[in-house]
Subunit: 245 residues, 2 copies
DNA sequence: CGTTTTTATTGATCAATATCAATTTGTTCC
DNA sequence: GGAACAAATTGATATTGATCAATAAAAACG
């Protein structure tokens, strides 16, 4: 297993934690839990091989966005899950498909610790144990939710579900709508949503035509009407979770 | 949460453990771990509501096949995972989609224990703890693998991958090929593979025409050439796992 | 054993999305 | 600022898989 460290040609994007709360949790809980973790700087596009059994690790995203990637056909791939600042990834969650890896979708930073060390540390404190198990469970639940989305929804529905989920995760209230930064490129987003990049582009176009989406910058979009987007997704997909602001 | 117990109109199918090994592990490890679990008999089609936070449970399949189900559109659903004898399901793995449930795809029996009890028991023994965590990790890995399959493969590829996985899980060497019992109905299998039941039927037909599949009974199929089926699936999906017999 | 009910197959058609190629737009870097 | 490069959009067309309706095949049941 090789982990290439950043060659520092491009400046690493500074920390972009979605909001104060998450930053706080991240700082207090994880920095203690991961006090002896290795910091790994990653550049957009970089591949981080996931360790085998013996080198099982826990990864925690500090900044940037990463994805769990598996290569499928010769030229295609599937992104199984996205990891944002504060998210954890345990390598035993990996599907065991040849070529699987973590892939940086933006510049960023993550911390890596051997699972054995994390386990020992967690054993010392029931509080940390609970925190960790909770994080990992949520990540599995997210995987299940994504599978439901890919397997059960049409293209536009998937995109709407993605936008709503992102808005809830990191959107900022702005005017009458929600301002949203979508870090992954079109191709990455398409590979995550199991859509063709061209098709995804078209769906974004339709949403813009219908006034559901407005581009405000490179990766920045404004959603004037989140409720309308939610209505595009079969009810039940978002069971009355409060929308953070 | 209501769990309907069997009304015993139809006889419950007797235990069908795939082979001696699994039966053994199941007996020795789990019966001790789950010694104070409730036994729940289920009939094909029965829905088992998954508990909320407070009533989080661990389920262990004794006999039969169950699936984690989420309703999508009005008439459609997605089966996220299949659970066979010996498999475990922890309710915090649920995606949190309205209407989610365990669904019995055949008559069978499962054991249910409150998570708190299981946790306490596992805390007593590192061996059990490890066994449990390992089972749950594998179930998450299977979820990821299934997501890769649904998101990245075509219909026929998905079906081939399903057949190969089932052959490896429970197939019995028979003549020059593998004999396989496929318990779930066409509709259930289709919902699991995110395909239309008609389309699935056609794919089975094509596989039969190509001599990859032969019907041998109600749910029993014979695969004369497993290698040919494996070649239909992008390499990497099945990285040199030994084929059990 | 024949009737009822459920499950599976098959054909004709349609809709959704992938593919390929050509532009356009945006970014990076001198 | 402008050349060189990368990313995103758009149009024309092909392909896959869904849908609907009709039929066939199996099980269940009296």
């Amino acid at each position: 297993m090789t982990i290439h460290t950043t060659q520092r040609r491009r400046p690493v994007a500074e920390a972009r934690l979605p909001n104060g709360l998450q930053a706080h949790v991240f700082e207090t809980e994880f920095n203690r839990l991961m006090s002896d973790a290795t910091t790994v700087r990653v550049r957009r596009g970089q591949r981080i091989a996931i360790g085998a059994e013996e080198t099982e690790c826990l990864y925690v995203v500090s900044t940037g966005v990463l994805a769990l990637e598996v290569p499928m056909q010769s030229r295609t791939r599937q992104l199984l899950a996205l990891y944002h600042p504060g998210d954890v990834f345990r390598s035993s969650l990996r599907p065991g498909i040849e070529g699987e890896a973590l892939r940086a979708l933006s510049n960023g930073e993550l911390r890596r610790a051997p699972w054995s060390v994390v386990e020992a540390r967690a054993a010392e404190s029931a509080e940390y144990q609970k925190f960790l198990v909770d994080k990992l469970s949520k990540s599995t639940a997210a995987l299940a939710r994504h599978l439901a989305s890919i397997g059960g929804l049409s293209g536009p529905e998937r995109v709407a579900a993605y936008l709503v989920a992102e808005a809830r995760r990191s959107g900022k209230a702005s005017g009458s709508g929600v301002l949203l930064e979508l870090v992954p490129s079109r191709v990455d987003t398409a590979d995550y949503l199991a859509l063709n990049a061209d098709t995804l582009s078209r769906i974004f176009g339709h949403f813009q035509d219908k006034g559901l989406l407005q581009r405000r910058g490179r990766n920045v979009y404004w959603l004037p009407n989140l409720q309308a987007l939610i209505r595009l997704v079969p009810s039940g997909m978002f069971p009355s979770e409060p929308c953070r602001r």
